[in-house]
Subunit: 143 residues, 2 copies
């Protein structure tokens, strides 16, 4: 029922291997970094934290991981897109963003998920993913 801490990494590595990707390069480093993050990171932040990995490699890796459904891209209103790991069938969170200071806080809500699931089924689209973003002012900035 419960998984080890590194399970997403294992799952992702396996999925990459199955898809015919090689391991050991920059892509693996991107993957491992994302595994340790609870929330979204921008491509440039990832690039900054992986000095040995080129920027292009980071973007290419994120693209591939997203195609495989291992990573989700999220738009949080800033100029740069955020990327975070996507737990298969597991809990997933959404984001509240402070329009003043840019702070991002994740949250989960079961009722919200249910509503979205229902809408998704009703739609004529075959809905694969979704995201919800709340925007406002954080306690510190309101204060």
């Amino acid at each position: 029922m419960s998984r080890e801490a590194g399970s997403w990494t294992d799952l992702a590595t396996e999925a990459l291997a199955r898809a015919g990707f090689r391991s050991g390069g920059g892509r693996s480093q991107v993957l491992e970094l994302l595994a340790t993050q609870g929330c979204a990171l921008t491509a440039l932040e990832i690039d900054r934290r992986l000095p040995g990995v080129g920027r292009a490699t980071v973007y290419r890796a994120l693209d591939q991981l997203e195609s495989l459904g291992l990573v989700q891209r999220v738009d949080l209103g800033s100029d740069a897109a955020g990327y975070e790991r996507l737990d298969p069938e597991g809990h997933h969170h959404h984001h509240i963003v402070c329009e003043r200071c840019g702070k991002v806080v994740p949250f989960e809500d079961a009722a919200l998920e249910r509503a979205i699931k229902r809408v998704s089924h009703q739609a004529s689209f075959d809905v694969a993913e979704h995201d919800v973003t709340l925007r406002g002012t954080c306690a510190r900035c309101s204060g």
Copy 2:
């Protein structure tokens, strides 16, 4: 209880005047174009549809209208941000986007809104707005 068709334009024009903005220029044209649209338009699309108006003016106008709460910016996954009018306290919709062809379809759902409203109140943030995006494949692209 009901409003005339042009009410949002009137409301927006009034809000602009109250905020000390002048009228008659490119900003008014941007405003009038958005008034006729049911869904989001990108800045570049707006620029293309308003030949006499410069691109910078379009971006500046959208920024101002957004600050006044008359327009909402929405990220639909494409490179360019979308903008659509925001009815004050009125119905508002969200979007389903086809990842294959880019088609955007609006939808409304009361239960979803209720869930979001509840989450917004629980949060430590002062939530001002929100948006929900569903992504998948449209009927036509699913084949």
